[in-house]
């Protein structure tokens, strides 16, 4: 096993072993705490330009398979683990994770103290990182890390979005049609809608309101995606147009931030984000708590103490994260629109929030 090096922009470094492809990778260092679902995480477009640190010590135990990928490729910019599996075991596995990483040129590092790294990121915040298994010294790698762009101000959705529209047919008879704006959509999301009789027209991130309305949707879905929501002006403009026309809108993650911005709220960068599948979110209307999958480095700033007026009528914070009171959901009271900061499609993650897709169906039915 050859050596590999990891350097953070503040100079902290770790030495480990090469994992996956040999080479160099840069991005924003983020950690995720899920104990299952590495294949889903790696293929989640929201991780574009990020180097993912897995806190779960054993990674790759179940190999990879043809069903669990959330998109057509691995999106993480680099991968940091403690103990990669050498022999995977799962009745569904068709390849090892190492095979996938190597084939797709994803540079990783293994054997490092991922807990120490995580604690460092927790205390100092998400930051730029470089991983190299191509033999450089710390100082020069650090120089290149510091030369990388940060995540603030990064406009990335277009880079991960579908090139052209495609349709995911409803499972069973189609009862509704939804236009899903792909800002970095995961495969499970249209499937969750298809399961509910929705025919999903997935459209590129750059779609205009006219293009969206051209598919004659019962509702519009705004997906998750990578980058800084403050840059998503086009998507915000699109959303405003939809709100204007009272088209039902459901946004998740990046899409939630877009809806928030359309309503006039600001976004901000969290110190180290929420990435995991164990985040407690409370539905403020019912008091019920759902355990949810998160992957967000930014969040919306919105008042927690009741509805506020927006250009599109009143809106309120519908969900909050119990760990830190971060805004996790919005609901328009005078428009058929709502959004959550987390992932109701939950791949990976618990299915507690699946009801939100039912809510979307109902919103469309009532609209």
């Amino acid at each position: 096993m050859s050596e590999a090096l990891l350097v953070l922009e503040d100079g902290r470094a770790f030495r480990g072993s090469a994992y996956g492809a040999v080479g160099e990778a840069f991005g924003e260092a983020v950690f995720a705490t899920g104990m299952t679902g590495y294949q889903e995480a790696l293929t989640d477009p929201s991780y574009h330009r990020q180097v993912l640190v897995q806190t779960a010590p054993h990674i790759g135990n179940t190999g990879t398979n043809d069903d669990d990928a959330e998109s057509g490729r691995i999106w993480v910019a680099g991968y940091v683990v403690r103990e990669p599996a050498r022999t995977p075991s799962s009745w569904r596995a068709t390849r090892t994770l190492d095979d996938d990483l190597t084939a797709q040129g994803v540079v990783g590092i293994s054997g490092i103290d991922t807990r120490a790294l995580t604690r460092h990121l927790r205390e100092r915040g998400a930051m730029r990182i470089g991983v190299s298994s191509a033999g450089t010294d710390e100082a020069s790698l650090l120089e290149r890390v510091r030369a990388q762009p940060g995540m603030l101000g990064a406009d990335l959705c277009a880079q991960v979005s579908t090139a052209g529209p495609y349709v995911v047919p409803a499972i069973g008879p189609a009862t509704r049609r939804v236009a899903a704006v792909d800002l970095g959509i995961k495969r499970m999301t249209p499937r969750r809608m298809a399961e509910r009789g929705i025919e999903v027209h997935v459209l590129p991130a750059t779609s205009t309101a006219d293009e969206v309305l051209a598919v004659d949707p019962d509702g519009v879905f705004l997906s998750n995606g990578p980058g800084d929501p403050a840059t998503a002006d086009a998507a915000v403009a699109l959303t405003r147009a939809l709100l204007e026309r009272r088209v039902p809108v459901f946004g998740i993650c990046f899409g939630h931030q877009v809806l928030g911005r359309a309503l006039g709220f600001d976004t901000y960068k969290l110190r180290y984000g929420h990435r995991g599948i164990n985040q407690p979110v409370q539905d403020r209307a019912t008091g019920r708590v759902e355990v949810t999958a998160h992957n967000h480095g930014f969040a919306l700033r919105a008042p927690l103490d009741g509805p506020v007026d927006t250009p599109f009528g009143r809106a309120e914070v519908s969900h909050v994260c119990l760990n830190d009171d971060v805004v996790e959901g919005l609901r328009c009271l005078d428009r058929p629109a709502f959004s959550v900061q987390y992932h109701p499609e939950a791949a990976a993650g618990p299915h507690d929030a699946g009801y939100l897709f039912d809510r979307f169906v109902k919103v469309m039915a009532d609209a």
Partner: protein
């Protein structure tokens, strides 16, 4: 939602004695519950018959009833206490079953007591196997095909339909009692009756076998708002067919994809909701087909379970504590996560480490028992370990077992093994199967081959293979250099293991020296529930080997999370490791007490232990918790870490039983400050020769003895001493291999059977003191003064291990002069040895001579019993003495009574009886027969109960009710005794006849009885044809058995079938004359008057009041 305002008093039911399948995890959960409820201002009353529990300490409840956990006694407690609610979900299966019985008898309704946690319908839906299956199907889940049967015939009909093999599982049981796998009709026939009998409802589930599938468990919590979280998925390394309690298990699950895990989670939550557990914890078990992923539900426990304790310790999420809060109305979102303090308990823990649990078995104690692991749980304890990888956690857990082998390569491999014998051996699940896996891989077996014959997932087998490869690399390396050594440590190898592979390093000490020279030291990480996402406020640590950061500013040491704390001096308490026969919860009790007392005295307390079931490993118990193996290496590193972070005032080794005691000398040699009795003094008591000199100097008699390395030598010694003699190998502890030998023939056979008799390991031959009264004493000594904590008189004669015999405190037949001799002897030993802290001495009183059998310079098994019987916290006092307090000082502080001691209890003090609980029912021979329940000098009990009342008869009756179910007050008694016991037996049997019992006896016994005016019907012995006694017992026609053995040793002992029949029918079986006499007193007490209940607080108050009347000081009886 705030807590319910309509609950102001709660009765908590504990789980009674430690038995296989139900151990101290319920003390842990019950203690947490009591703490929580009291902190809420609720009046807590508690019933538990187990005196060795922390929960039965009087300060944990408002009214503590050390009374039998049976519906009759709990009903009496309810009548006295009138609680608003009953919390039964934290007391294991025992408490749950009592709750159901109280409901069915209408007691709960009569007194208006609400069952909180899970209601009757939920308990039934969870525990009734068929009802549960219906629930699973109704939510779309799958279960193995099955039929519920209530008779032998219906079982056979069901099997005709299902086909062999089938699994039998009785309803409302735990630990797989009465369950098993039948591969053919013969096996089935053997198992059916026992299975039906094991179920309190005589219900047996006959089920399609899913042997070899992967087994998983989920621990869930639900609140009254219907929020549900999964605390932890646990994967069993041993597949279906090996009880989870006997499996090596790992958390989190290692071989599930997210999809499979979420499917399991969804189903678990649906089942939980449908069953209707309102609030609290529950556990659901699943089987997954390894080739298709087919998921079936196996069972659920609508209560906190053994696995909940494991999950709590593994994640830092305190299930029982939170269950108690939920039961009184809080919701998960309202309860803070103790560890982070800023986030709520409504979340699912994320682990950034691996936890492995390994079961501890005791087959060596039960010769003849079939050691195959099946659906019936047989392990007596477990150890758990943390690591940053599976290998590290596994190897740490394996060396925590306190077995002769301490991890791979440290034990001896059976001779003549070949690849094919190894593969053959792997087919049958057995204790230490992972050792066999390792040897098979080393012998060339492939991963798929091993996985195929064991059903162990290839991922785990591959993990073991990587250790085999590492071993080869270490052996082949020219030198053990830094990088390789670090890799070995990261893989979890101990110094001792490495010493085996690199003999030139001259043993473990050499490896350690090298390691320290190379700067390869473990760091300590924190169990924080959240994989470091939030800062942890609780110092709950485990060790691992990490490499440091290589910062641009220079090398950085591996990150260690032990916080500096310079303010208070630290005291490190070493715990007792996994429960095993001879060393169980009693030692944990003492360790916990030390932590409490020393914290109160201003020290920072640090606990080291590896037993997940215990109160000591609750992160709330000591100021800091290290969940670590209790090996020399691991302890030394903890001490070093604590020394780096502050000042270590001392390490306490005398409260955790033999485990830490054995480390004392080496720790002291390594410069570790041992407090209390110094290692040299420990040696004086532990080494026979040295102890003999201590006794000789004090003029105290000991049984004559000698050593032998051959039959001829042994015979010479025996001839000199005179038969009977007690023989034992010198190299084992805890009464292992001890036998009473009555003649040359038996002596020859013993020497023949005792392997490894060599000059280094001679056989010890002692005069066996026949018909002697055994006396146990626990005492404190501060170096000058001695405080006798308690004097216990055994009910059975000497020759039955002190852990297995019942005893009474205060002694019921000893005279003043006997007590005076006990006191002076104990004082002489304490001073002669140089004890600072606790001392336990065992004596045998024969013909007015008090012989010293042994002295243990440590806390004993009886410390909690004595503390509760005399209202004096002996372990707390001991901890203080170890750190320099004097007995006089503790008397002024009120920790010890101002006057008198445990040997001068006031007249009218309550009588406490301790009774042992034996696990014979759990074991079967390979042919399916029961094991002999005969007692001897080798300890076999798993736990104990206490009966306490004003007179001996009542206390004894309670102890029996608590241990075995009530003594009969009418019916038929069967008597069959050895010739030497016939005379002594006449009086008690006559009394039983007078009390209205019908007496049946074997011919010889009957004749003696008839000659003495007791009419007795003669019945045939086993083998005497139809109508013989064994048949009568099986038929339920006998209510009490009195049977003393004829022979006294050797493989075949008469009466075996009688005793095993009694055990399988659960009827009391008395095997000693003294036991029979006590039993008669108990029966009389039951017949004469109501045996009532009284809280410990009241008994203690009376005792304290009585004490103030004692004139003078401790020496008044001298």
């Amino acid at each position: 939602m705030p807590r319910r305002a309509d609950i102001s008093s709660v009765l908590v039911i504990g789980s009674g004695p430690i038995v296989i399948g139900q151990a101290c995890e319920f003390d842990y959960s019950g203690t947490q519950a009591c703490r929580v409820l009291r902190a809420e201002g609720i009046r807590v009353s508690l019933v538990n018959s187990n005196p060795a529990t922390i929960m039965t300490d009087p300060e944990f409840a408002d009214a503590t009833y050390i009374e039998p956990v049976t519906p009759e006694f709990v009903a009496q407690v309810i009548a006295r206490e009138r609680p608003d609610a009953l919390l039964a979900t934290l007391g294991g299966q025992t408490a749950l079953n009592v709750a159901v019985a109280l409901h069915e008898r209408g007691i709960l309704a009569q007194y208006g007591v609400e069952l909180i946690g899970a209601d009757i319908s939920a308990i039934k839906a969870g525990e009734d196997r068929q009802a549960f299956k219906d629930v699973v199907r109704s939510v779309g889940g799958e279960v193995p095909r099955s039929a519920v049967c209530r008779s032998v015939e219906s079982v056979f009909a069901a099997v005709a339909d299902l086909g062999y093999p089938v699994v039998l599982r009785p309803s409302y049981t735990m630990g797989g009692a009465g369950s098993g796998v039948a591969h053919d009709t013969a096996q089935l026939r053997r198992m059916v009756t026992a299975g039906l009998a094991a179920s309190p409802t005589h219900e047996l589930l006959v089920e399609e076998s899913v042997l070899g599938w992967k087994e998983y468990e989920l621990e869930l919590m639900r609140d009254r708002e219907d929020n549900v979280v999964v605390v932890c998925p646990i994967e069993n390394i041993d597949p279906m067919g090996v009880h989870t309690g006997d499996s090596v298990t790992v958390a989190p699950a290692m071989t599930l994809t997210d999809r499979e895990y979420q499917a399991m989670r969804d189903l678990a939550i649906a089942v939980l909701r449908e069953v209707g557990v309102d609030t609290g914890g529950c556990n659901i078990q699943f089987a997954v087909h390894p080739g298709t992923g087919r998921l079936v539900v196996i069972e659920m426990n609508p209560r906190v379970s053994r696995s909940s304790a494991l999950a709590s310790k593994a994640t830092g999420f305190p299930i029982a504590k939170i269950a108690a809060k939920l039961a009184i109305g809080y919701t998960l979102a309202e309860i803070p996560n103790d560890i982070t303090r800023v986030t709520p308990a409504c979340f699912e823990p994320s682990l950034d480490y691996v936890v492995v649990k390994v079961p501890r078995f005791a087959f060596e104690k039960f010769p003849g028992a079939d050691a195959e692991l099946t659906t019936t749980m047989k392990s007596v304890g477990e150890a758990m370990a943390f690591g940053r990888s599976f290998g590290e956690a596994l190897q740490k857990a394996m060396r925590s077992m306190e077995t002769s082998a301490a991890g791979f390569w440290t034990g001896s491999a059976p001779e003549g093994e070949t690849l094919s014998t190894l593969i053959q051996a792997l087919r049958v699940p057995h204790d230490g199967r992972l050792y066999t896996v390792e040897r098979a891989l080393r012998a060339g077996a492939t991963v798929p081959e091993v996985a195929a014959v064991t059903g162990i997932d290839p991922w785990f087998v591959d993990q073991v293979l990587s250790l085999v490869e590492l071993r080869a690399e270490i052996e082949a390396a020219p030198v053990l250099d830094g990088p390789l050594l670090l890799r070995a440590k990261r893989a979890g190898c101990s110094d001792r293991q490495l010493a085996v592979l690199r003999p030139e390093l001259a043993g473990e000490d050499g490896v350690r020296a090298l390691r320290h020279r190379l700067g390869i030291r473990p760091v300590f990480k924190t169990v924080d529930t959240c994989a470091a996402e939030f800062a942890a406020a609780t110092p709950y640590h485990y060790s691992c080997y990490e490499s440091g950061g290589a910062g641009v500013g220079g090398e950085q040491a591996a990150e260690d999370e032990v916080a500096p704390q310079a303010g208070r001096p630290k005291v490190i308490v070493l715990g007792s490791g996994p429960n095993r026969i001879g060393q169980g919860i009693e030692f944990d009790y003492s360790c916990v007490h030390a932590a409490m007392a020393l914290r109160d005295a201003g020290y920072e307390t640090v606990m080291v232990n590896c037993n997940p079931e215990t109160v000591s490993t609750d992160y709330d118990t000591a100021d800091r918790l290290y969940f670590e193996p209790l090996t020399f290496e691991d302890v030394l590193e903890v001490v070093a870490a604590e020394q780096r972070s502050g000042t270590v005032a001392g390490v306490v080794v005398q409260l955790g039983g033999q485990t830490p005691l054995r480390l004392a000398q080496r720790l002291a040699d390594a410069g570790v400050p041992i407090v209390g009795t110094p290692p040299e003094a420990i040696h004086l008591a532990e080494e026979r020769g040295a102890f003999g000199r201590v006794l000789a100097r004090a003029g105290l008699p000991a049984p004559a003895h000698g050593v032998a390395t051959s039959y001829d030598e042994a015979k010479a010694v025996a001839d000199g001493i005179g038969y009977p003699v007690l023989v034992r190998p010198s190299y084992v502890l805890g009464g292992r291999g001890m036998e009473i030998v009555y003649d040359d023939e038996h002596l020859a056979s013993y020497i023949g059977r005792a392997t490894e008799v060599t000059p280094e390991h001679p056989v010890l031959v002692d005069r066996f003191l026949d018909d002697a009264i055994e006396i146990d004493v626990d005492a404190l000594c501060d170096g000058v003064e001695v405080y006798v904590g308690g004097v216990m008189e055994h009910i059975e004669e000497a020759g039955i291990h002190s852990g297995d015999s019942s005893c009474a405190l205060p002694p019921i037949t000893l005279g003043r002069s006997d007590l005076a001799t006990v006191r002076t002897s104990t004082e002489a030993i304490a001073r002669g040895v140089g004890v600072r802290g606790l001392l336990n001495v065992q004596y045998a009183l024969k013909e007015d001579v008090l012989y010293v059998l042994e002295a243990n310079p440590r806390a004993s098994r009886t410390v909690p019993f004595v503390s509760k019987a005399t209202a004096v916290p002996l372990a707390k006092a001991a901890a203080r003495i170890m750190l320099g307090a004097t007995i006089a000082q503790l008397r002024t502080e009120g920790i010890l009574p101002a006057r008198g001691d445990g040997a001068t209890l006031p007249v009218g003090a309550p009588i406490a009886v301790k009774e042992a609980v034996l696990p014979f029912k759990r074991f079967r021979t390979a042919e399916g027969h029961g094991l002999d329940s005969l007692l001897g000098p080798e300890m076999k009990s798993t736990g104990e109960v206490m009966g306490i009342d004003t007179v001996f008869g009542k206390a004894f009756a309670k102890s029996q009710a608590a241990a075995y179910g009530s003594l009969p007050v009418k019916g038929r008694v069967f008597v069959s005794v050895a010739n030497r016991d016939k005379r002594a037996m006449i009086f008690p049997v006559k009394r039983l006849a007078d009390l209205g019992f019908e007496v049946v006896a074997t011919r010889g016994t009957a004749e003696v009885l008839q000659r003495n005016g007791v009419s007795a019907t003669v019945v045939g012995k086993h083998g005497d044809g139809p109508g013989n006694i064994v048949e009568l017992i099986h038929d339920g026609q006998i209510d009490l058995v009195v049977n003393t053995p004829w022979g006294n040793s050797g493989p075949r002992i008469d009466g075996y079938e009688i005793r095993t029949a009694a055990v399988s029918r659960d009827i009391p079986c008395i095997t000693t004359v003294q036991g029979a006499a006590a039993c008669v007193q108990g029966i009389e007490a039951l017949i004469r008057d109501e045996v009532g209940v009284r809280p410990l607080q009241e008994l203690h108050a009376a005792l304290r009041a009585g004490r103030s009347d004692i004139p003078g000081g401790a020496g008044c009886v001298r």
